[in-house]
Symmetry: C2
Subunit: 603 residues, 2 copies
């Protein structure tokens, strides 16, 4: 029986912030050392932030990245932290990055790699093989795939431990380095990840880790980043899984954390392991991978345990209470919002509060993420705004402690219609756009980041005004269907009640029929099917790529389905100009779903 | 000596318009037959339109696409056009398309293929091997790569001709099917393309065709699509190149065309050809390709020439006069604009005309693309608008015949500032946004598509108002630097003079110092360096990915460079909400240049 104290650090890097990210990693190493860990791992591309996108085409970025890795080693040595072996995600580059020219197909020669550092040495590198281009990912654009598997032997008095490394996507595929890991007597397989949250992802990751652990006979140590980066929310939720399928440790979600766990590596793991579990085979059509070379050359002395007290209590949660979808979503949105604001150099936000459910939930999310004192709500009533709109907006402000002011838009609407009299939808849009001009005026003048309160149902069918309510720097509910907005509101209020706090969202905002209030007695249901029906169709069509026939077969009226599908197609041009917002579903609007604007296909 | 009359059809498909695209191909076959062609080729994915993007994930799209191919064969047979052998770009799919699920890495099993149809038979298929992910492309996301090279022997009394097919990117790479073509005695290698215009691309294509022709010993027949599709402009410019490097024919750019050329295939091409030219090697780091299987199985009878008159005069331009960059750019912009408007179901556009150069050039482009009667210009003067702004806008209207009206914004600005007094930039932005509300009101009310008149220099440094002058459905000058806007204006006026027409753009709009006129006596030069300096820095930084040090070394003031680079980074969030516009440069803002918003790296 050999033992290893392993630490997985969930850290929150920012893209391009080499100094800041280095500091986060050094701090993690300090904490890991204090916890007596012998091996520490942090997430994929932790040193650069993830995703770096086309920054990889810049020579200066690649050079700074290499310098940051050297600087990290220096800092670890100077701080006497380099006796902890560190696996860190970084950008590798073999050759010079070439600027693009007409007709040239430039590739950076860049690699998405895991690096094992110990006592000032680069002990081993493991490049990512499978470069995802599905969903939000563009890695085949940015990196060259790996073709090696590095296996490091950590030598020690009580027997050697063989260590393997994988980068994120490589854990999910039957061909490539994971298959090469089988029958190699690997004791611990460390997988570093930048895996964005979506509902159900944590369970999927656990299942994949279990399959991989059974297949390779290795303990899988899965470490993820945490934090928001543009539209992505990395949720942490790092896991350690035993070859027998047991989850040995499971880190909390949505927060920075150092997960420390003592691994007992039974001597039988050193015997040749025969794979007994099929790996996931979704990708049977994946192009054949180049032959993988196994590198066994690296050997390092296993760091001696500097602290043999038991691992700190509570750092490894053996059984983690699964949270409901509402709580997960709320925390992901709140983290995504907080980091978008802070990482872009803002501290305050402003938003229009109408008394409706969307703005109430957005405002409450912002108060949770930033504190009520950092949130500015503006009511912008028109002639069509009802008394309850004023009352509910004021009530929200009182409950959440946000700054609140009222700017009526009647005068502006009147002046506008004197200048350019309009009717129908065109006139309705004017109200929404004049509100946006006022809100952007406040945003520009007071340095507050404008939130757009639109939800995924609206964005899907175009039930919003471009440059009106759709305007904003960030849209917290962009990937949240209307029916889920209501659920979030109810969950948040009951969460408050459980903690003997005042529920932040006025009950009236939850129960009243939704209305844009852009014309007399207008209701959303005048133009759209009931939201439970609409959202069910949208989930099928948008999230699951189900077709018209399939949706009709599921029991929805064919004319209704046709009209919804037409609306979705026609709204594509609006979505292209929509602000970013945190992805929490299988398929978010944005880079996750790429469609032409000029397009005659509906179905 | 064997002979082949070849036709290349430059057609303009629309994504998802299976019926319309089929009609275009049938018409091309009819014209090719009338011209006596034995072999006809049309562009990449001509049947579906290009790029289809995530539509490929929809089973109904894939099924409709397969049905369209069958329908095309049926139509060709019914119209007795199937004795002309046809090579057409289409979507192939081997298996069912799987909807995505949490954690699943779905791939459609879809292929980007060239299909050879003849007398009701699918004679051969050639799948694209190299799936580009650079620049605007996402093909690795959407397709599975090919691993075969199909060689078709066209048997005939006067000797066989061996025919090869390639799809677009495969022509540009040293490894893959092009290398496999060498030493195979191929007489004609047909490459079908969806190659977007950018300045200098035509010359790059000619050079690549020449290299490929020399290397393979085959005549290269390069056929491109034509027309605008969202941000891309396919420029046609199809080429036929002899193994000795001669350009045998060169089709016109920016227009539908049937290029017909008689090929004399010398008997020596049937002798084993030894490659004597290195292929382009930009991609030496490209991952190793799977082994390519050569399929020789297909044999077809070569269509008999039905019309042995000489090929129609003028259809093949042996020596094409190269047009200057201004003319090329103008025609590409005009085509992109026309197709964006029409393919999205509009016929008219509206735009603000300020008397400045950007709106004058935009308006003239729109008049050229759509006709002056389809263009609506609105002057929206404020207290800061000078008399020459009124005069020059009215002059533009008189010269181009666009519909013209004036809506002063003083009243609205006054009402706004009574409600929310603002100063500085915030107050300036209000004027631009109130103009956008008026223009969008007209657009919504009268069904005209709003053009944004912003240029690439503004978009780069954020010198525009989000939801203000940046608002619009399409931005014709999005990829045109300010200095090029002036050149375009001068070129267009001199083009008119050469044709004894009235120059459309008022001289005063060209010569006056640029100003946003949002405050008293404001000039662009108050906030920005002179445009010739700014644009030179932008070309280096944006188009060529040159770094700070390189730009400073080129002789630009380091503080100035730093401030410009900071502006570019900070404006990323604005660019994400910018309207689409036609790509005409090496690197356009949009899918061509993908960067994070939250990003601490400048350099």
């Amino acid at each position: 029986m050999t033992q290893l104290r392993l630490a997985l650090a969930q850290i929150n890097p920012t893209v391009g912030d080499f100094a800041g990210n280095t500091e986060l990693i050094v701090n993690a190493a300090r904490n890991a050392r204090e916890a007596g860990a012998q091996l520490l791992a942090v997430g994929e591309m932790a040193l650069t932030g993830y995703p770096i996108e086309d920054l990889v085409l810049r020579e200066a970025f690649v050079a700074n990245s290499a310098a940051a890795l050297a600087q990290l080693q220096q800092r670890l040595g100077d701080s006497q932290l380099d006796d902890v072996a560190l696996i860190v995600g970084a950008l590798g580059a073999d050759g010079p990055v070439r600027p693009q020219a007409v007709g040239a197909r430039s590739l950076a020669g860049a690699r998405n790699m895991a690096v094992l550092l110990h006592r000032g040495q680069v002990v081993a590198k493991q490049n990512k093989h499978h470069l995802p281009t599905h969903g939000v990912f563009d890695e085949n654009r940015h990196f060259v795939p790996g073709n090696q598997l590095s296996i490091v032997t950590m030598a020690s008095d009580d027997g050697p431990i063989k260590l393997g490394m994988l980068v994120c996507e490589d854990l999910w595929h039957v061909n490539g380095p994971l298959a090469a890991c089988a029958s190699k007597d690997i004791g611990v397989l460390v997988c570093i990840n930048a895996s964005p949250y979506e509902y159900g992802k944590d369970a999927a990751r656990v299942a994949v880790c279990q399959q991989a652990a059974r297949h390779t006979g290795a303990i899988i140590a899965y470490v993820n980043l945490v934090g928001g980066q543009d539209e992505l929310v990395f949720d942490g939720s790092s896991i350690v899984v035993h070859p027998d399928g047991r989850v040995l440790a499971h880190a909390p979600s949505y927060e920075d954390h150092l997960l420390v766990v003592d691994l007992d590596l039974p001597t039988e793991h050193l015997k040749r392991h025969t794979p007994d579990t099929a790996l996931p085979t979704e990708l049977s059509e994946l192009p054949e991978q180049p032959t993988i070379t196994i590198e066994h050359a690296q050997t390092m002395l296993r760091p001696r345990p500097v602290n043999v007290k038991p691992a700190p209590a509570g750092s490894a949660q053996l059984i983690r209470k699964e949270r409901g979808q509402e709580q997960q979503t709320w925390q992901a949105l709140s983290l995504g919002l907080r980091d978008y604001v802070h990482k872009n150099g803002f501290s305050c936000v402003v938003l229009g509060v109408s008394g409706g459910i969307d703005s109430a939930v957005c405002a409450t999310l912002a108060c949770d993420a930033l504190g009520g004192s950092q949130v500015h709500g503006v009511a912008l009533p028109s002639a069509f705004s009802s008394q309850h709109s004023y009352d509910d907006a004021a009530d929200l402000a009182a409950r959440t402690g946000l700054h609140y002011r009222v700017i009526p838009i009647n005068g502006l609407v009147k002046t506008f219609s004197d200048e350019l009299p309009l009717r129908g939808l065109a006139a309705q849009n004017v109200q929404a756009r004049l509100r946006a001009v006022l809100l952007m005026g406040i945003s520009n003048s007071e340095g507050q980041l404008l939130l757009s309160t639109g939800n995924k149902s609206e964005l899907a069918v175009g039930y919003s005004t471009l440059y009106g309510d759709a305007a904003g720097a960030f849209a917290p509910l962009k990937d949240v269907y209307k029916t889920m907005v209501w659920k979030l509101a109810r969950w948040r209020n009951s969460y408050a009640e459980q903690r003997d706090e005042q529920p932040p969202i006025p009950e009236n905002s939850i129960v009243k029929p939704p209305s844009a209030e852009l014309s007399l007695d207008q209701l959303d249901s005048d133009a759209l099917p009931p939201y439970d029906v609409l959202d069910a169709i949208l989930r099928l069509y948008v999230d699951s790529d189900a077709g018209r026939e399939e949706i009709v077969a599921a029991g929805y009226d064919s004319e209704l389905v046709d009209s919804v599908l037409r609306l979705i197609k026609t709204a594509e041009h609006k979505r292209r100009q929509a602000p970013p917002g945190p992805k929490v579903s299988t398929k978010a609007f944005g880079r996750d779903r790429r469609l032409p604007i000029a397009n005659r296909f509906v179905g």
